[in-house]
Symmetry: C2
Subunit: 335 residues, 2 copies
Amino acid sequence: MDSKIATIQDVARVAGVSTATVSRTISKPDVVAKATREAVLSAVAETGYRVNTTASNLRRQRTGTVLVLLPNIANPFFSQILAGLASVLTPAEYSMLIADTQTGPDADQRLTHYLTSGQADGLVVLDGTLSPETLSGPLVPPAVLVCEWMGSTLPSVRVENARGAALAVNHLADLGHRKIGHVTGPPGNVLTETRRDGFCRALADRGLPVHDDWILEGDFTMDSGAAAARAWCHLEDRPTALFLSSDEMAIGCMGALQSRGIRVPEDVSIVGFDNIEIAQHLSPGLTTIRQPRTDIGVRAAEILMDMIASKTKDGQSEIITVHLIPRGSTGPAPE
Amino acid sequence: MDSKIATIQDVARVAGVSTATVSRTISKPDVVAKATREAVLSAVAETGYRVNTTASNLRRQRTGTVLVLLPNIANPFFSQILAGLASVLTPAEYSMLIADTQTGPDADQRLTHYLTSGQADGLVVLDGTLSPETLSGPLVPPAVLVCEWMGSTLPSVRVENARGAALAVNHLADLGHRKIGHVTGPPGNVLTETRRDGFCRALADRGLPVHDDWILEGDFTMDSGAAAARAWCHLEDRPTALFLSSDEMAIGCMGALQSRGIRVPEDVSIVGFDNIEIAQHLSPGLTTIRQPRTDIGVRAAEILMDMIASKTKDGQSEIITVHLIPRGSTGPAPE
DNA sequence: GGCTGCCATGTAAACGATTTCATCGTCGCC
DNA sequence: GGCGACGATGAAATCGTTTACATGGCAGCC
């Protein structure tokens, strides 16, 4: 009937040792004598003892929490990175505190509050719109940036965004397209900038025209992809291929085009970016740039764990390779 | 150069009061005199004091953590529930610990460990395959089940799964379909059972045949939807309409059908379940049963907060209404 | 045999808050 | 004017660990 959970004191009493020995048995078993160790372990089993993480964290001056900042938790792209993060953090006894940076206008203030409140031992930033200054205060814990860098010196796991865009352009150019358009992410976002730059540079490299009217603004959502499709329809001189800065937008765009009777890829070829799971299940399948999302999360978590362990704010950076996945949404340029 | 964070002691010293008064000023401002309160608050501002959550939690015998059990974090359906949960939990100073119940074979054991380790003040269960016994040990904190019930007496936020299935069937029957098939979720999952039962009952109510060959087994993933499409192709006597137990499966199925040249809805009508965002962006749009995912999360979190506040394991339950969203993937039965 | 040194363990002081209980005024009332 | 009550504050215990330091015993060595 002891609904109370056993404490280290109880274990110590049962095993006939001091709490120090119990603690040592659990954290560094090799420093206690074999006999004592066994006595303690059986006392642990008998009492059903579990270490109280809160107390442990307090004493060890850590929080056991990693704060993950992301713009939109409902985006499947992010959730898969989360899965990667979790697979490393959970075994390391860290829990993820997920903060949606998009909710509400006071987001920036709430954020600073969060960052400096000592609620987290580390930070994983998935939001490309956060300012480097916000992230480099003295009170801000070690941080790893994911998928972006913005000239900051913080360690990061980045994806070859520019090269990804170039892969898309080259693929389309190889298929004979000469009029290639682009739908960007939201302005100010690093992903947006790099992919757009990579796109423009690749066009130039292939000697293809960069046409301002063909660069449409989106915001990574399906809705904005659909809007881009409508905008495309209203263009006088329409590109025969579109490279969209995210799969979500590409899906929204493709759906909107198809429901207007425009054929993909016969009338227009579509390339996305991300390779989210659904891309292969569409008809036609979506040609896209693959980013290994789980790996990204895993590497980010590993780097962060290293930083926390070595108590530094500097860490390694890593660049993750992207690949073109050709599918049915791209085809030869129409006449 | 005091990179150290201020403690309540520092504030007390600066304000010339005791730590007790500082603590009171912050947690129940009305019991301290106005003058003292102001002195304390300005000392707080001056020192940049933030309460140390870990210490506070330890003293107050809480963890400040809610454990969320879900089968697959990458599923967009769940992430939106998470968003709803977060919107309630974060303001209440709770953080979410997300545990993927699917990873690894020792999942069940790890789970029990988690549940009883006192790591969480509450539990939100999104996984329909967990056994009620696992969730009702004396050491398990207050729990709310989401989207399921399995005869358990635990409080829950459930969705009208059976009625949703009936809505789908009636919609198809109204369109003249008499041969209606179903793709289920994974066996043993409560959602699977209830939706299948609702499906069968609705067929019977409309006087339509229940044909075992037309009930295909899936597991809620796109891949299994695609597999169902292939299975459908191999049927001798093919249903003219399919109700799939999740949108993901419906998408996988529709994509696979279309890429085989089978037209939706001319050759076969498709109904999903969930109304995930992408459903409206497909071409044709996916007819589906809408569950208000964010609301579900919000209500579950609210109920849990109530339970924690009143220190009980019993809470209210709530049933969330579903709606049919007709889109282009359903049409009149072919001749 | 006595000294050095190491190994295993215990003692007790943190960690930073909350909260009970005691104390000290001050006010009101008879 | 004295007594009771109440309102505001402080002192100190407590939450459950971890860990620096002290202690005691035993082996090894001259």
